[in-house]
Protein backbone atom coordinates (compact mmCIF):
# COMPACT_ATOMS: atom_id res chain seq x y z
CA UNK A 1 0.00 0.00 0.00
CA UNK A 2 1.01 3.58 -0.44
CA UNK A 3 2.79 5.39 2.38
CA UNK A 4 0.61 8.04 4.00
CA UNK A 5 2.67 11.02 5.12
CA UNK A 6 0.26 12.10 7.86
CA UNK A 7 0.14 8.62 9.36
CA UNK A 8 3.91 8.30 9.14
CA UNK A 9 4.47 11.62 10.84
CA UNK A 10 2.11 10.73 13.66
CA UNK A 11 3.61 7.28 14.21
CA UNK A 12 7.17 8.63 14.33
CA UNK A 13 6.12 11.33 16.79
CA UNK A 14 4.26 8.72 18.80
CA UNK A 15 7.37 6.57 18.92
CA UNK A 16 9.31 9.48 20.37
CA UNK A 17 6.50 10.12 22.87
CA UNK A 18 6.58 6.50 24.04
CA UNK A 19 10.38 6.67 24.24
CA UNK A 20 10.02 9.54 26.72
CA UNK A 21 7.90 7.35 28.98
CA UNK A 22 10.91 5.25 29.96
CA UNK A 23 12.84 8.17 31.47
CA UNK A 24 9.42 9.11 32.88
CA UNK A 25 9.24 5.76 34.66
CA UNK A 26 12.84 6.28 35.80
CA UNK A 27 11.96 9.56 37.53
CA UNK A 28 8.60 8.28 38.74
CA UNK A 29 10.31 5.35 40.46
CA UNK A 30 13.49 7.23 41.36
CA UNK A 31 11.65 9.80 43.44
CA UNK A 32 9.98 7.12 45.55
CA UNK A 33 13.04 5.25 46.79
CA UNK A 34 15.50 6.27 49.48
CA UNK A 35 18.21 8.71 48.45
CA UNK A 36 20.95 6.07 48.50
CA UNK A 37 19.16 4.15 45.74
CA UNK A 38 18.00 7.03 43.55
CA UNK A 39 20.55 6.59 40.76
CA UNK A 40 20.34 2.83 40.73
CA UNK A 41 16.55 2.99 40.40
CA UNK A 42 16.78 5.48 37.54
CA UNK A 43 19.42 3.32 35.86
CA UNK A 44 17.27 0.18 36.00
CA UNK A 45 14.73 1.90 33.74
CA UNK A 46 17.11 3.92 31.59
CA UNK A 47 19.30 0.95 30.72
CA UNK A 48 16.28 -0.67 29.06
CA UNK A 49 16.49 1.95 26.30
CA UNK A 50 19.94 0.60 25.53
CA UNK A 51 19.54 -3.09 26.21
CA UNK A 52 16.01 -3.83 25.01
CA UNK A 53 16.35 -1.36 22.15
CA UNK A 54 19.19 -3.44 20.73
CA UNK A 55 17.49 -6.77 21.35
CA UNK A 56 14.38 -5.57 19.59
CA UNK A 57 16.15 -4.62 16.38
CA UNK A 58 18.44 -7.67 16.36
CA UNK A 59 15.86 -10.39 17.01
CA UNK A 60 12.99 -9.23 19.25
CA UNK A 61 10.82 -7.79 16.51
CA UNK A 62 11.23 -10.95 14.50
CA UNK A 63 10.13 -13.20 17.36
CA UNK A 64 7.08 -11.03 18.01
CA UNK A 65 6.04 -10.04 14.50
CA UNK A 66 7.85 -12.47 12.19
CA UNK A 67 6.10 -15.24 10.24
CA UNK A 68 3.81 -17.10 12.59
CA UNK A 69 4.47 -20.58 13.95
CA UNK A 70 1.37 -22.27 15.38
CA UNK A 71 0.06 -18.99 16.78
CA UNK A 72 2.74 -19.12 19.47
CA UNK A 73 5.83 -17.30 18.22
CA UNK A 74 7.10 -15.30 15.26
CA UNK A 75 9.76 -16.62 12.92
CA UNK A 76 13.31 -15.51 12.28
CA UNK A 77 12.57 -13.86 8.95
CA UNK A 78 13.16 -10.37 10.37
CA UNK A 79 16.37 -11.27 12.22
CA UNK A 80 18.51 -8.12 12.02
CA UNK A 81 15.82 -6.54 9.85
CA UNK A 82 17.34 -7.67 6.53
CA UNK A 83 14.43 -7.23 4.16
CA UNK A 84 12.73 -4.43 5.98
CA UNK A 85 12.79 -1.45 3.71
CA UNK A 86 11.41 2.03 3.64
CA UNK A 87 8.14 0.77 2.23
CA UNK A 88 5.11 -0.39 4.16
CA UNK A 89 4.57 -3.85 5.58
CA UNK A 90 1.84 -5.93 3.91
CA UNK A 91 0.58 -6.97 7.32
CA UNK A 92 1.14 -4.33 9.97
CA UNK A 93 0.40 -0.62 9.81
CA UNK A 94 0.14 -0.81 6.03
CA UNK A 95 0.21 2.93 5.40
CA UNK A 96 3.51 3.75 7.12
CA UNK A 97 7.09 2.59 6.52
CA UNK A 98 7.64 -0.81 8.11
CA UNK A 99 10.60 0.65 10.00
CA UNK A 100 8.32 3.19 11.69
CA UNK A 101 6.14 0.38 12.99
CA UNK A 102 9.19 -1.54 14.20
CA UNK A 103 10.60 1.35 16.17
CA UNK A 104 7.16 2.19 17.61
CA UNK A 105 6.93 -1.39 18.85
CA UNK A 106 10.49 -1.23 20.21
CA UNK A 107 9.44 1.47 22.67
CA UNK A 108 6.72 -0.81 24.06
CA UNK A 109 9.15 -3.64 24.71
CA UNK A 110 11.56 -1.20 26.38
CA UNK A 111 9.04 0.31 28.77
CA UNK A 112 7.56 -3.05 29.75
CA UNK A 113 10.89 -4.14 31.20
CA UNK A 114 11.42 -0.72 32.81
CA UNK A 115 8.03 -1.04 34.50
CA UNK A 116 8.69 -4.25 36.40
CA UNK A 117 12.03 -3.01 37.77
CA UNK A 118 9.99 -0.93 40.24
CA UNK A 119 9.21 -4.08 42.20
CA UNK A 120 12.80 -5.10 42.80
CA UNK A 121 14.56 -1.78 43.43
CA UNK A 122 16.82 -1.16 46.42
CA UNK A 123 18.04 -4.77 46.63
CA UNK A 124 18.50 -6.53 43.26
CA UNK A 125 21.95 -7.03 41.81
CA UNK A 126 22.31 -4.93 38.67
CA UNK A 127 24.07 -7.63 36.64
CA UNK A 128 21.36 -10.14 37.54
CA UNK A 129 18.66 -7.69 36.53
CA UNK A 130 20.27 -7.29 33.11
CA UNK A 131 20.37 -11.06 32.57
CA UNK A 132 16.76 -11.38 33.73
CA UNK A 133 15.78 -8.59 31.33
CA UNK A 134 17.37 -10.27 28.31
CA UNK A 135 15.76 -13.62 29.11
CA UNK A 136 12.42 -12.03 29.93
CA UNK A 137 12.13 -10.01 26.73
CA UNK A 138 13.06 -13.09 24.72
CA UNK A 139 10.99 -15.72 26.49
CA UNK A 140 8.03 -13.73 27.81
CA UNK A 141 7.52 -10.40 26.07
CA UNK A 142 8.08 -11.53 22.49
CA UNK A 143 5.74 -14.54 22.68
CA UNK A 144 2.99 -12.60 24.44
CA UNK A 145 3.28 -9.71 21.99
CA UNK A 146 2.99 -12.27 19.20
CA UNK A 147 -0.08 -13.92 20.70
CA UNK A 148 -1.92 -10.64 21.10
CA UNK A 149 -0.72 -8.51 18.18
CA UNK A 150 1.15 -10.78 15.80
CA UNK A 151 -0.44 -11.85 12.53
CA UNK A 152 -1.56 -15.39 13.30
CA UNK A 153 -1.14 -14.99 17.06
CA UNK A 154 -3.64 -17.22 18.82
CA UNK A 155 -5.20 -14.58 21.08
CA UNK A 156 -5.38 -12.21 18.11
CA UNK A 157 -7.19 -14.88 16.12
CA UNK A 158 -9.49 -15.55 19.04
CA UNK A 159 -10.53 -11.89 18.99
CA UNK A 160 -9.01 -10.68 22.25
CA UNK A 161 -8.99 -6.88 22.31
CA UNK A 162 -5.89 -5.03 23.45
CA UNK A 163 -5.70 -1.65 21.81
CA UNK A 164 -2.38 -0.39 23.12
CA UNK A 165 -0.89 -3.07 25.34
CA UNK A 166 -2.89 -3.52 28.53
CA UNK A 167 -2.16 -7.23 28.41
CA UNK A 168 1.16 -7.23 26.58
CA UNK A 169 2.69 -4.38 28.57
CA UNK A 170 0.89 -3.88 31.86
CA UNK A 171 -0.42 -7.27 32.94
CA UNK A 172 2.83 -8.76 31.70
CA UNK A 173 4.96 -6.32 33.75
CA UNK A 174 2.69 -6.53 36.80
CA UNK A 175 2.77 -10.34 36.95
CA UNK A 176 6.52 -10.41 36.34
CA UNK A 177 6.86 -8.02 39.29
CA UNK A 178 4.80 -10.36 41.46
CA UNK A 179 6.95 -13.37 40.61
CA UNK A 180 10.25 -11.56 41.08
CA UNK A 181 9.26 -10.22 44.50
CA UNK A 182 8.30 -13.73 45.61
CA UNK A 183 11.81 -14.89 44.70
CA UNK A 184 13.69 -11.85 45.90
CA UNK A 185 11.97 -11.17 49.22
CA UNK A 186 11.60 -7.94 51.12
CA UNK A 187 14.00 -5.08 51.40
CA UNK A 188 16.04 -5.13 54.58
CA UNK A 189 14.03 -3.44 57.29
CA UNK A 190 10.66 -3.60 55.53
CA UNK A 191 8.07 -3.07 56.94
CA UNK A 192 9.37 -2.01 60.39
CA UNK A 193 11.63 0.78 59.15
CA UNK A 194 9.88 3.68 57.45
CA UNK A 195 11.12 4.09 53.88
CA UNK A 196 10.45 7.63 52.86
CA UNK A 197 10.30 8.84 49.28
CA UNK A 198 13.41 10.95 48.65
CA UNK A 199 11.84 13.39 46.20
CA UNK A 200 8.10 13.55 45.56
CA UNK A 201 8.41 16.40 43.00
CA UNK A 202 10.53 13.99 40.94
CA UNK A 203 7.69 11.45 41.17
CA UNK A 204 5.27 14.09 39.89
CA UNK A 205 7.64 14.96 37.04
CA UNK A 206 7.88 11.27 36.13
CA UNK A 207 4.11 10.80 36.25
CA UNK A 208 3.67 13.88 34.08
CA UNK A 209 6.13 12.59 31.47
CA UNK A 210 4.28 9.28 31.57
CA UNK A 211 0.93 10.93 30.98
CA UNK A 212 2.40 13.01 28.13
CA UNK A 213 4.06 10.01 26.53
CA UNK A 214 0.94 7.92 26.95
CA UNK A 215 -0.68 9.89 24.12
CA UNK A 216 1.84 8.27 21.81
CA UNK A 217 1.23 4.93 23.47
CA UNK A 218 -2.56 4.99 23.12
CA UNK A 219 -3.43 7.47 20.37
CA UNK A 220 -0.37 6.27 18.45
CA UNK A 221 -1.70 2.72 18.59
CA UNK A 222 -4.32 3.74 16.08
CA UNK A 223 -1.31 3.51 13.71
CA UNK A 224 -2.84 6.35 11.74
CA UNK A 225 -3.52 10.07 12.16
CA UNK A 226 -7.25 9.57 12.14
CA UNK A 227 -10.47 9.82 14.13
CA UNK A 228 -9.65 6.72 16.13
CA UNK A 229 -6.40 8.35 17.28
CA UNK A 230 -8.36 11.40 18.43
CA UNK A 231 -10.85 9.17 20.20
CA UNK A 232 -8.06 7.31 22.01
CA UNK A 233 -6.48 10.64 22.92
CA UNK A 234 -9.72 11.74 24.60
CA UNK A 235 -10.38 8.45 26.41
CA UNK A 236 -6.79 8.42 27.67
CA UNK A 237 -7.18 11.90 29.10
CA UNK A 238 -10.47 11.36 30.88
CA UNK A 239 -9.56 7.96 32.29
CA UNK A 240 -6.38 9.37 33.83
CA UNK A 241 -8.30 12.35 35.16
CA UNK A 242 -11.10 10.24 36.64
CA UNK A 243 -8.68 7.85 38.31
CA UNK A 244 -6.46 10.61 39.72
CA UNK A 245 -9.50 12.41 41.09
CA UNK A 246 -10.93 9.22 42.60
CA UNK A 247 -7.62 8.41 44.27
CA UNK A 248 -7.36 11.93 45.68
CA UNK A 249 -10.87 11.75 47.15
CA UNK A 250 -10.24 8.35 48.78
CA UNK A 251 -7.01 9.53 50.36
CA UNK A 252 -8.81 12.70 51.48
CA UNK A 253 -11.55 10.64 53.13
CA UNK A 254 -8.85 8.61 54.89
CA UNK A 255 -6.78 11.63 55.90
CA UNK A 256 -5.48 14.24 53.43
CA UNK A 257 -5.44 14.60 49.63
CA UNK A 258 -2.04 13.00 49.00
CA UNK A 259 0.10 14.23 46.10
CA UNK A 260 1.91 10.91 45.81
CA UNK A 261 -1.50 9.22 45.79
CA UNK A 262 -3.04 11.51 43.19
CA UNK A 263 -0.25 11.03 40.65
CA UNK A 264 -0.32 7.27 41.30
CA UNK A 265 -4.03 7.39 40.59
CA UNK A 266 -3.35 9.09 37.25
CA UNK A 267 -0.93 6.33 36.27
CA UNK A 268 -3.44 3.66 37.37
CA UNK A 269 -6.06 5.26 35.12
CA UNK A 270 -3.65 5.40 32.19
CA UNK A 271 -2.85 1.72 32.67
CA UNK A 272 -6.51 0.73 32.77
CA UNK A 273 -7.51 2.70 29.66
CA UNK A 274 -4.61 1.31 27.63
CA UNK A 275 -6.34 -1.83 26.29
CA UNK A 276 -9.64 0.02 25.94
CA UNK A 277 -8.49 3.35 24.49
CA UNK A 278 -9.67 2.66 20.94
CA UNK A 279 -12.85 0.77 21.82
CA UNK A 280 -14.75 2.84 24.38
CA UNK A 281 -16.59 6.16 24.49
CA UNK A 282 -15.45 9.04 26.71
CA UNK A 283 -18.11 8.11 29.28
CA UNK A 284 -16.93 4.51 29.24
CA UNK A 285 -13.41 5.82 29.81
CA UNK A 286 -14.55 7.76 32.88
CA UNK A 287 -16.10 4.60 34.31
CA UNK A 288 -12.85 2.71 33.65
CA UNK A 289 -10.86 5.49 35.31
CA UNK A 290 -13.01 5.57 38.44
CA UNK A 291 -12.82 1.78 38.65
CA UNK A 292 -9.03 1.90 38.30
CA UNK A 293 -8.70 4.47 41.09
CA UNK A 294 -10.80 2.40 43.49
CA UNK A 295 -9.40 -1.02 42.63
CA UNK A 296 -5.72 -0.04 42.50
CA UNK A 297 -5.97 2.01 45.70
CA UNK A 298 -7.40 -0.76 47.82
CA UNK A 299 -5.21 -3.41 46.24
CA UNK A 300 -2.11 -1.33 46.98
CA UNK A 301 -3.28 -0.77 50.54
CA UNK A 302 -3.92 -4.47 51.03
CA UNK A 303 -0.63 -5.65 49.53
CA UNK A 304 1.58 -3.08 51.23
CA UNK A 305 0.11 -2.41 54.64
CA UNK A 306 -1.87 -5.57 55.37
CA UNK A 307 0.09 -8.35 53.66
CA UNK A 308 3.47 -6.57 53.93
CA UNK A 309 4.28 -7.77 50.43
CA UNK A 310 7.31 -5.74 49.40
CA UNK A 311 6.52 -5.05 45.75
CA UNK A 312 8.51 -1.91 46.47
CA UNK A 313 6.94 0.54 44.04
CA UNK A 314 3.62 -1.27 43.75
CA UNK A 315 4.05 -2.50 40.19
CA UNK A 316 1.59 -5.35 40.66
CA UNK A 317 -1.06 -3.21 42.32
CA UNK A 318 -0.87 -0.43 39.73
CA UNK A 319 0.13 -2.19 36.48
CA UNK A 320 -0.92 -5.78 37.12
CA UNK A 321 -4.25 -5.11 38.75
CA UNK A 322 -4.90 -1.92 36.76
CA UNK A 323 -4.09 -3.82 33.57
CA UNK A 324 -6.37 -6.74 34.48
CA UNK A 325 -9.19 -4.33 35.28
CA UNK A 326 -8.59 -2.53 31.97
CA UNK A 327 -8.57 -5.74 29.93
CA UNK A 328 -11.79 -6.95 31.51
CA UNK A 329 -13.34 -3.46 31.35
CA UNK A 330 -12.62 -3.43 27.62
CA UNK A 331 -14.89 -6.46 27.38
CA UNK A 332 -17.53 -4.59 29.37
CA UNK A 333 -17.47 -1.08 27.91
CA UNK A 334 -16.42 -1.64 24.27
CA UNK A 335 -18.88 0.28 22.14
CA UNK A 336 -19.58 -0.57 18.51
CA UNK A 337 -20.05 3.15 17.82
CA UNK A 338 -16.33 3.71 18.34
CA UNK A 339 -14.50 0.93 16.55
CA UNK A 340 -17.09 -1.70 15.67
CA UNK A 341 -16.54 -3.89 18.71
CA UNK A 342 -19.19 -4.52 21.36
CA UNK A 343 -18.74 -5.38 25.01
CA UNK A 344 -20.90 -6.81 27.75
CA UNK A 345 -22.98 -3.64 28.06
CA UNK A 346 -24.06 -4.09 24.44
CA UNK A 347 -24.87 -7.72 25.13
CA UNK A 348 -21.66 -9.27 23.81
CA UNK A 349 -20.94 -11.85 26.49
CA UNK A 350 -18.45 -13.66 24.31
CA UNK A 351 -16.09 -10.67 24.09
CA UNK A 352 -16.18 -10.36 27.86
CA UNK A 353 -15.24 -14.03 28.27
CA UNK A 354 -12.46 -13.81 25.68
CA UNK A 355 -10.99 -10.87 27.58
CA UNK A 356 -10.98 -12.87 30.82
CA UNK A 357 -9.42 -15.85 29.06
CA UNK A 358 -6.64 -13.67 27.64
CA UNK A 359 -5.94 -12.22 31.09
CA UNK A 360 -5.79 -15.61 32.77
CA UNK A 361 -3.63 -17.25 30.13
CA UNK A 362 -1.14 -14.38 29.88
CA UNK A 363 -0.95 -13.99 33.66
CA UNK A 364 -0.33 -17.71 34.17
CA UNK A 365 2.25 -17.93 31.38
CA UNK A 366 4.13 -14.83 32.54
CA UNK A 367 4.10 -15.92 36.16
CA UNK A 368 5.51 -19.38 35.46
CA UNK A 369 8.08 -18.18 32.93
CA UNK A 370 9.28 -15.33 35.16
CA UNK A 371 9.60 -17.76 38.07
CA UNK A 372 11.73 -20.08 35.95
CA UNK A 373 13.91 -17.24 34.68
CA UNK A 374 14.28 -15.74 38.15
CA UNK A 375 15.06 -19.09 39.76
CA UNK A 376 17.69 -19.84 37.10
CA UNK A 377 19.42 -16.53 37.68
CA UNK A 378 19.16 -16.99 41.45
CA UNK A 379 20.89 -20.39 41.25
CA UNK A 380 23.65 -19.23 38.92
CA UNK A 381 24.56 -15.67 39.81
CA UNK A 382 22.33 -14.74 42.72
CA UNK A 383 19.56 -12.16 42.77
CA UNK A 384 20.37 -9.89 45.69
CA UNK A 385 23.23 -7.63 46.55
CA UNK A 386 25.02 -8.49 49.79
CA UNK A 387 23.55 -7.27 53.05
CA UNK A 388 26.34 -4.72 53.40
CA UNK A 389 25.82 -3.43 49.85
CA UNK A 390 22.11 -3.08 50.51
CA UNK A 391 22.74 -1.03 53.65
CA UNK A 392 25.23 1.25 51.89
CA UNK A 393 22.80 1.65 49.01
CA UNK A 394 22.86 0.50 45.41
CA UNK A 395 24.10 3.84 44.04
CA UNK A 396 27.50 3.36 45.65
CA UNK A 397 27.67 -0.42 45.75
CA UNK A 398 26.47 -1.10 42.19
CA UNK A 399 27.42 2.02 40.30
CA UNK A 400 30.11 3.78 42.34
CA UNK A 401 28.20 7.05 42.08
CA UNK A 402 25.93 9.14 44.24
CA UNK A 403 22.94 11.23 43.27
CA UNK A 404 24.01 14.41 45.00
CA UNK A 405 27.48 15.88 45.49
CA UNK A 406 29.30 16.68 48.69
CA UNK A 407 29.14 19.64 51.08
CA UNK A 408 29.94 22.42 48.60
CA UNK A 409 27.02 22.10 46.27
Amino acid sequence: MEIDSGNTAWLLISSALVMLMTPGVAFFYGGMVRRKNLLSTIMMSFVCLALVGLIWVIYGYSLAFGNDTAGIIGGLNYLGLPNVGLGASDTYATTVPHLAFIIFQAMFAIITVALFTGAVVERIKFSSLLVISVLWVTLVYCPVAHWVWGDGGWLYNLGALDFAGGTVVHINAGIAALALVLLLGRRKGFPQTPMEANNIPLVVLGASLLWFGWYGFNAGSSLAADGLAASAFVTTTVAAAASAFTWMIISWIQRRPSVLGTVTGAVGGLVAITPAAGFVTPMGAIAIGIGAGLICYFCLLLMKTKLHFDDSLDVFAVHGVGGIWGAIATGIFASSSVNGYSGLLEGNVQQFLIQILAVVVVAAFTFVMTMIIGKTVEKTMGLRVSSQEEIVGLDLSQHGERAYGGLLR
Binding site: P194, M195, E196, I250, S251, Q254, R255, R256, S258, L260, G261, T264, Y297, F298, L300, L301, K304, T305, D314
Partner: protein, 112 residues
Amino acid sequence: MKMIEAIIREEKLDCVKKALEKDNYFGMTVTEVSGRGRQKGIPLQWRAGEYTVDLIPKIKIELVVLDEDVDKIVNTIASNARTGETGDGKIFVLPVSGVIRIRTGDKDENAV
Protein backbone atom coordinates in the same frame (compact mmCIF):
# COMPACT_ATOMS: atom_id res chain seq x y z
CA MET B 1 30.91 32.05 78.33
CA LYS B 2 28.36 29.44 77.56
CA MET B 3 27.19 27.73 74.40
CA ILE B 4 23.42 27.58 74.16
CA GLU B 5 22.15 24.81 71.96
CA ALA B 6 18.42 24.93 71.37
CA ILE B 7 16.42 22.32 69.46
CA ILE B 8 13.15 23.96 68.44
CA ARG B 9 10.22 23.58 66.08
CA GLU B 10 10.94 24.62 62.50
CA GLU B 11 8.06 27.05 62.49
CA LYS B 12 9.39 28.82 65.61
CA LEU B 13 12.73 29.85 64.11
CA ASP B 14 11.59 33.25 62.89
CA CYS B 15 10.14 34.47 66.15
CA VAL B 16 13.06 33.12 68.22
CA LYS B 17 15.46 34.87 65.86
CA LYS B 18 13.61 38.20 66.16
CA ALA B 19 13.41 37.93 69.96
CA LEU B 20 17.15 37.24 70.23
CA GLU B 21 17.81 40.30 68.10
CA LYS B 22 15.92 42.39 70.69
CA ASP B 23 18.29 40.97 73.33
CA ASN B 24 21.22 42.15 71.19
CA TYR B 25 22.25 38.66 70.12
CA PHE B 26 22.45 38.75 66.35
CA GLY B 27 24.94 35.98 65.62
CA MET B 28 23.94 32.35 65.62
CA THR B 29 24.37 29.11 63.70
CA VAL B 30 21.21 27.41 62.48
CA THR B 31 21.08 23.80 61.32
CA GLU B 32 18.28 21.60 60.04
CA VAL B 33 18.35 18.50 62.19
CA SER B 34 16.29 15.35 62.75
CA GLY B 35 15.61 13.82 66.09
CA ARG B 36 13.11 12.35 68.43
CA GLY B 37 11.79 12.80 71.90
CA ARG B 38 8.42 12.55 73.58
CA GLN B 39 6.66 13.51 70.35
CA LYS B 40 7.64 10.00 69.08
CA GLY B 41 6.92 10.48 65.39
CA ILE B 42 4.75 12.02 62.73
CA PRO B 43 2.45 10.18 60.29
CA LEU B 44 3.11 10.70 56.58
CA GLN B 45 1.06 9.49 53.64
CA TRP B 46 2.22 6.83 51.19
CA ARG B 47 0.41 6.26 47.90
CA ALA B 48 -2.30 4.54 49.88
CA GLY B 49 -2.35 4.52 53.67
CA GLU B 50 0.22 6.10 55.89
CA TYR B 51 3.43 5.34 57.72
CA THR B 52 5.17 6.88 60.70
CA VAL B 53 8.48 8.66 60.52
CA ASP B 54 10.09 8.55 63.97
CA LEU B 55 12.83 11.08 63.29
CA ILE B 56 11.19 14.46 63.15
CA PRO B 57 12.70 17.49 61.45
CA LYS B 58 13.70 20.23 63.91
CA ILE B 59 15.86 23.34 63.90
CA LYS B 60 19.02 23.60 66.00
CA ILE B 61 20.22 27.06 67.03
CA GLU B 62 23.69 27.46 68.47
CA LEU B 63 25.01 30.65 69.99
CA VAL B 64 27.64 31.59 72.55
CA VAL B 65 26.64 34.10 75.22
CA LEU B 66 28.26 35.86 78.17
CA ASP B 67 27.76 34.15 81.53
CA GLU B 68 25.54 36.94 82.85
CA ASP B 69 23.23 36.69 79.80
CA VAL B 70 22.59 32.92 80.01
CA ASP B 71 19.36 33.06 81.99
CA LYS B 72 17.94 35.89 79.90
CA ILE B 73 18.72 34.18 76.57
CA VAL B 74 17.46 30.76 77.67
CA ASN B 75 14.28 32.46 78.81
CA THR B 76 13.92 34.33 75.52
CA ILE B 77 14.34 31.17 73.47
CA ALA B 78 12.04 29.08 75.67
CA SER B 79 9.24 31.60 75.78
CA ASN B 80 9.34 32.19 72.03
CA ALA B 81 9.63 28.53 71.04
CA ARG B 82 6.90 27.23 73.32
CA THR B 83 3.49 26.04 72.11
CA GLY B 84 2.67 23.84 75.10
CA GLU B 85 2.37 20.71 72.93
CA THR B 86 4.85 17.81 72.99
CA GLY B 87 7.62 18.44 70.51
CA ASP B 88 8.57 21.98 71.56
CA GLY B 89 12.19 20.86 71.92
CA LYS B 90 15.02 21.32 74.41
CA ILE B 91 17.74 23.77 75.37
CA PHE B 92 21.21 22.69 76.42
CA VAL B 93 23.78 24.96 78.10
CA LEU B 94 27.43 23.99 77.66
CA PRO B 95 30.65 25.51 78.98
CA VAL B 96 32.91 27.22 76.41
CA SER B 97 36.66 27.39 77.11
CA GLY B 98 37.61 29.86 74.41
CA VAL B 99 36.36 32.03 71.52
CA ILE B 100 38.42 33.57 68.73
CA ARG B 101 37.09 35.94 66.04
CA ILE B 102 38.97 34.89 62.91
CA ARG B 103 39.11 38.30 61.20
CA THR B 104 40.53 40.36 64.08
CA GLY B 105 41.97 37.78 66.42
CA ASP B 106 39.79 39.12 69.26
CA LYS B 107 39.51 36.64 72.07
CA ASP B 108 36.91 35.32 74.52
CA GLU B 109 34.47 37.98 75.88
CA ASN B 110 35.56 40.43 73.17
CA ALA B 111 34.76 37.91 70.51
CA VAL B 112 31.36 36.73 71.74
